[in-house]
């Protein structure tokens, strides 16, 4: 029977801060994307996932919360932020490997989860760097857990061991019940993350952070694809400034011929 409290793990990824992402450029030789010197922040969808844990905890649903991140120093920084936002403890999978692809990330997270009593895995629906939108779904399939993507509301049903969720879909809002254990990916309207206060940041320093090396997880690091080229986005010619609706109508009708 039901009434198990939630033991949540939340995955966080460092990305270029969305407020400076307009400055991202292709390298002049088209060999990659130049993000050097740009501020790094927690992927905004993951931030929503962390806030969701905090909200569920303040409603009394959470027994324990753990944040996990895979990467170098930036991953550790994101874990510190998650701890300051209210997560209980952190697992840092340490690696300098730069091109870990979604399937490999999902496999690594599965091994991390297998070693815990987690019954809900939360993460953003996509990371705003590679825009893949895959890891949550892949992880759910690999674990054989329930899946809820693009989630904009979560209501636990502790009697039935289910989560009642609302999903943002192309046709509107879909309401599903998903049985625990489950993987959920978070969408924009789930909450508005609040930034940690200084005392929270200070107290987070004493929260436990477990370090795990990539090798310890014994997952084959595999490339499913390789990037052979980077192309700039198509350029658009400079537009024409018009002074009135009448002029716009005429242009659309006779020049652009779209109305």
């Amino acid at each position: 029977m039901g009434s198990q409290l939630l033991k949540i793990m939340v995955a966080v990824k460092p990305v270029v801060d969305p407020y400076v992402s307009a400055q991202i450029r292709l390298k002049p030789d088209l060999s990659g994307v130049d993000i050097s010197g740009l501020k790094i922040a927690m992927n905004p969808f993951d931030e929503i996932a962390v806030q969701a844990v905090k909200d569920l905890a303040s409603d009394g649903y959470v027994a324990k919360s753990v944040a996990v991140s895979i990467g170098g120093e930036q991953a550790e920084e994101m874990l510190r932020v998650a701890l300051a936002m209210g997560i209980d403890e952190a697992i840092h999978v340490e690696t300098d490997e730069e091109d870990l692809q979604p399937l490999t990330i999902a496999k690594l997270l599965k091994v991390v989860i297998d070693d815990t009593d987690t019954n809900v895995m939360l993460m953003g629906k996509q990371a705003i760097d590679n825009d893949c939108n895959q890891v949550g779904q892949m992880l759910s399939a690999l674990l054989g857990w329930s899946q809820g993507t693009f989630v904009s509301a979560i209501k636990p049903d502790m009697v039935r061991d289910e989560l009642n969720i609302v999903r943002e879909v192309d046709t509107g809002l879909e309401n599903l019940s998903v049985r625990l254990p489950a993987v959920l990916t978070t969408d924009l309207r789930l909450n508005k993350p609040s930034y940690p206060t200084l005392p929270q940041i200070m107290s987070a320093k004493s929260k436990p952070m477990t370090k795990v090396s990539l090798a310890e997880l014994a997952v084959e690091i595999k490339q499913n694809y390789k990037v052979i080229k980077y192309n700039p986005p198509p350029m658009r010619a400079k537009g024409e400034k018009l002074s009135s609706a009448a002029e716009l109508f005429a242009k659309l009708k006779t020049e652009a011929k779209v109305i």
Binding site: V33, L103, Q126, D131, E174, R179, K226, Y230, G239, K241
Partner: protein, 323 residues
């Protein structure tokens, strides 16, 4: 080479994003099988059969697939996967929901939002909200990918009724699946859809989109009047959705819908990178904003720096008068 396309539909009619996926499939191989999973979906099957580009249709008519739950769809696709070199679904919330599961269960990667096909193993896809496009070579035995519908013209060629009368075997042969996949993980409860007589945003030829500049839900009426005059879908920036002016299903951008209509009219939208990612491939872009520094003007073909509350009614009247 043999491609499987998973059809998007509502059990009643085929969504034309499927026809865009079929177009992408024909650029890989002449052998294109379409999988239709649904419930009481006979009309969808009949609607697809006349398309010349379809070599075969596999379908299921089962309550297990009525609500397109990811777990069920993925298991069914995996059960069929070994006959195919490529598995394609539209990069919509339908396709994005189950296709990564398919890839993981097949132990292969997935390529998201493919915008061009170079050859059977090399594809183009955007990263960083379209600030760059990567050309990637898949190293997997089965290529699993979501197709950005706006990047591929839907296939249109159908066998005429006369041609069908001469040789009925021209129509794609049908194969039916008898044993549906069920799961005990997820249960559908309800769907709240915004009812509209206007075209579907994903596939509309014209889109009228609003941003925070519209200042309130009440002012949307003006925008809907313009959309009706143009037979356009109504889109929105994230700011307008977050402010509660309009529903999430209208959002255009990096994390919303990606559209490329013939005409895109951006009203009171400043043009954040995240929004541009969802519409910058539109053929003709019009921007109306009172802020002369609005970044949307950088990509607009025509723009007016003025109060939208004056321009929009005037434009609507001009169209009314001339139609």
């Amino acid at each position: 080479m043999s491609v499987l396309v998973i059809a998007q539909h509502d059990n009643n009619s085929l969504n034309s994003v499927t026809l865009s996926c079929i177009k992408a499939a024909t650029e890989i191989s002449a052998s294109v099988t379409v999988l239709i999973l649904g419930y009481h979906d006979l009309k969808v099957i009949e609607g697809l059969r006349p398309y010349k580009a379809v070599s075969k249709i596999i379908y299921a008519d089962s309550s297990s697939y009525e609500r397109f739950l990811a777990e069920n769809l993925a298991d069914q696709v995996v059960a069929l996967a070994q006959d195919f070199t490529h598995i394609l679904a539209p990069a919509t919330t339908f396709g994005k929901n189950f296709l990564p599961r398919v890839a993981a269960l097949l132990d292969v990667g997935q390529l998201s939002e493919v915008t061009a096909i170079y050859n059977a193993e090399t594809f183009e896809r955007p990263i960083y909200a379209g600030k760059a496009y990567t050309v990637v070579q898949s190293l997997d035995p089965i290529k699993v990918m979501t197709i950005r519908p706006s990047a591929f013209e839907p296939v249109t060629e159908q066998w005429s009724e006369d041609e069908q009368a001469v040789a009925e075997d021209r129509l794609a042969p049908l194969e039916t699946l008898k044993k549906p996949f069920e799961n005990n993980h997820s249960r559908f409860e309800s769907l709240i859809s915004s009812e509209s007589k206007l075209p579907d945003l994903n596939t509309a030829k014209r889109v009228v989109s609003v941003g925070r500049g519209i200042q309130g839900e009440d002012n949307l009426k003006m925008v809907y009047r313009l959309a009706e005059q143009l037979n356009a879908a109504v889109g929105a920036s994230r700011a307008a959705v977050d402010a509660g002016y309009i529903g999430n299903d209208h959002q255009v951008g990096q994390t919303g819908k990606v559209v490329a209509p013939e005409l895109y009219i951006a009203i009171g939208i400043s043009g954040a990178v995240q929004h541009l990612a969802g519409m910058s491939d539109s053929k003709v872009i019009v921007a109306i904003n009172k802020d002369p520094e609005a970044p949307i003007f950088e990509i607009a073909d025509y723009y007016i720096v003025d109060n939208l509350f004056r321009v929009i009614p005037e434009l609507t009247r001009a169209i009314e008068k001339n139609s």
